[in-house]
């Protein structure tokens, strides 16, 4: 079952407009090379699930007009500030925010991973998140300890929120390493495994291709996503830039700061995007 290496563009060639796509927070390997491919393809109307939050990857996709709905715990560039395209798109109504809290995103994807329709989650009750999430249900905990669950006593009914499962059509991953059997190594980033399991299909760009089977190495195999869950892999060295890859390279802070400045206006974002799509990567600029 040897996997053929694909081009980055080929990984998303079959993705339909309106699909549910999911990616992890920027610090778990932002699939920026895949963002370039998605925008180049001109995909529209995506339901983007940020696991559990979005950053530059999400903001660029939103700015490029690929996204109709953005779901997750939040979108932000962290120490670089608010995500400009996200903020603009939500205010203008160009994008529908499906706000929630981070552990609810994890719960939804873990439910998807397990093939169960929902996962209960503590918290949320009394928040306006719940006001705007008709898909979340509150039920009286049927497992409440004896004495705490008197149906006549509203104060004792132990309400709990059920989070519906999410099974993304496509998970987008940028990982440090794959082997030619299609296994991905993600190290201690166990949540990437949840993502790949929950998604119906998973594609990945990787920094490097390993010699041999990753599962044959007792140390590597603790951090592997099995090929069973991986549809296609493409090589994309430094494919997370300008975001960083833990243990491999740092985020390019100057490039992210420049993005924030450029994307403050739609025109500025458009100019940034043209350069991004043309492959004007920070690495290339540094070489000039």
């Amino acid at each position: 079952m040897t996997l053929q290496l694909a081009s980055v563009d080929a990984l998303v060639a079959d993705l339909a407009d309106g699909a549910v796509v999911a990616a992890m927070k920027d610090t778990s390997g932002a699939p920026m090379a895949l963002a370039r491919a998605l925008i180049g393809k001109g995909v529209r109307g995506l339901h983007l699930v940020n696991m559990p939050t979005g950053g530059l990857f999400a903001d660029v996709l939103i700015g490029a007009g690929c996204v109709a709905t953005v779901e997750g715990g939040g979108v932000s560039l962290g120490e670089y500030g608010q995500a400009p395209c996200f903020v603009r798109a939500v205010k203008s109504g160009a994008v529908r925010p499906l706000d929630t809290t981070c552990p609810a995103v994890y719960a939804a994807l873990q439910a998807g991973e397990k093939g169960i329709p929902f996962m209960p989650l503590r918290g949320l009750i009394g928040s306006d998140i719940l006001t705007h999430r008709a898909d979340y249900k509150i039920v009286d905990n049927p497992i409440a300890p004896p004495g705490t669950h008197d149906p006549a006593d509203r104060a004792m009914r132990d309400p709990i929120v059920l989070i519906p499962a999410i099974r993304p059509d496509l998970a987008l991953i940028h990982a440090p390493l794959a082997d030619r059997d299609g296994n991905l190594w993600v190290g201690r980033d166990h949540e990437l495994r949840i993502l790949a399991h929950a998604a119906r299909h998973t594609v990945a760009t990787v920094e490097q291709i390993a010699a041999g089977n990753l599962n044959a190495d007792p140390l590597r195999s603790a951090g592997v996503i099995s090929a069973l869950y991986v549809d296609a892999v493409a090589l994309a060295p430094r494919g997370a830039l300008p975001c960083g890859m833990a243990g491999l390279y740092e985020a390019d802070g100057a490039a992210i700061a420049a993005y924030v400045q450029a994307a403050a206006t739609p025109e500025g974002f458009r100019a940034w995007l043209d350069a991004f799509l043309a492959g004007d990567t920070p690495a290339r600029r540094a070489a000039e």
């Binding site: 939500v90 109504g93 925010p97 706000d99 503590r122 949320l124 166990h190 833990a246």
Partner: protein, 252 residues
């Protein structure tokens, strides 16, 4: 003689006092002052022969402070294994409701922030949540938040081992009275009057007849802060450490 100290050092000391007795303190993203306070707490506890609290810093790289990832961190809190956490808000109101989403009618708000992140969960399950905000103004401390990312209190019957204990700002320390669902002014920072706190706070709060002044950080606290803590906080927050303490990372 008491040494002079920076505003950040005062806030760190205030937060540090609130963390006494914690066994596991988690620090979220973009929280250098709470993070420093947690590390100072640990350094102090270590000094008196005890074992300082475990400090988990979301986003830290060093094995000592980093978490096993988001799922594990939320699960850990759900298990009751996180004693203290920090939250903030674009708006915070007098019932300790916090708003991290935006201002105006949802969803097309006139101001939009990042989102609620972990607040709507952690505020419920972490026993000692400390609200921290570096801006004290009527813009931030409002009568009623526009969007409740996480409520300050819950009706009886709602599972809620956690919630707010205090709100720390550059002007003062409020404690939160869970039963009365109100903040009380516990101390005003040196040089700040009660009148100024009232002027710049958009919600009503309790205040004793004579509001004490916040105790400044002792010399020995400052020494720990500028030594061990400064080196440790430089792992997740190198810029903050350099700016406030002139420190480089411990491992560098």
């Amino acid at each position: 003689m008491a040494e002079s100290y920076r505003a950040e050092e005062l806030l760190i000391a205030v937060v540090c006092r609130l963390l006494e007795g914690s066994r596991h303190i988690a620090v979220g993203v973009s929280s250098p002052i709470p993070g420093s306070a947690a590390l100072l707490r640990r350094a102090l506890d270590d000094r008196i022969g005890g074992t300082g609290p475990k400090v988990s810093v979301i986003g830290a790289e060093s094995p000592e402070f980093r978490t096993d990832g988001g799922v594990d961190m939320f699960d850990c809190a759900g298990q009751g294994r996180v004693d203290a956490f920090f939250l903030s808000g674009g708006q915070i109101d007098g019932e300790a409701n916090i708003n991290l989403v935006g201002v105006g009618d949802y969803p097309r708000q006139k101001a939009r922030w990042g989102g609620s992140f972990g607040s709507a969960y952690l505020y419920f399950v972490v026993p000692r949540v400390i609200l921290f905000r570096e801006e004290h103004s009527r813009r931030v401390l409002v009568p009623k938040v526009d969007f409740v990312s996480a409520p300050g209190w819950s009706p009886a019957g709602v599972y809620r081992p956690g919630g707010p204990v205090a709100l720390v700002t550059p002007l003062c320390l409020f404690t939160f009275d869970k039963a009365r669902r109100r903040f009380a002014l516990a101390s005003r920072h040196p040089g700040v009057t009660l009148e100024r706190v009232r002027d710049e706070t958009g919600f009503d709060f309790d205040a004793p007849g004579n509001v004490p002044e916040t105790i400044p950080p002792q010399n020995e606290w400052l020494a720990l802060l500028r030594g061990r803590v400064a080196r440790e906080i430089a792992d997740p927050y190198p810029k903050f450490a350099a700016r406030v303490f002139g420190a480089a990372p411990a491992a560098a």
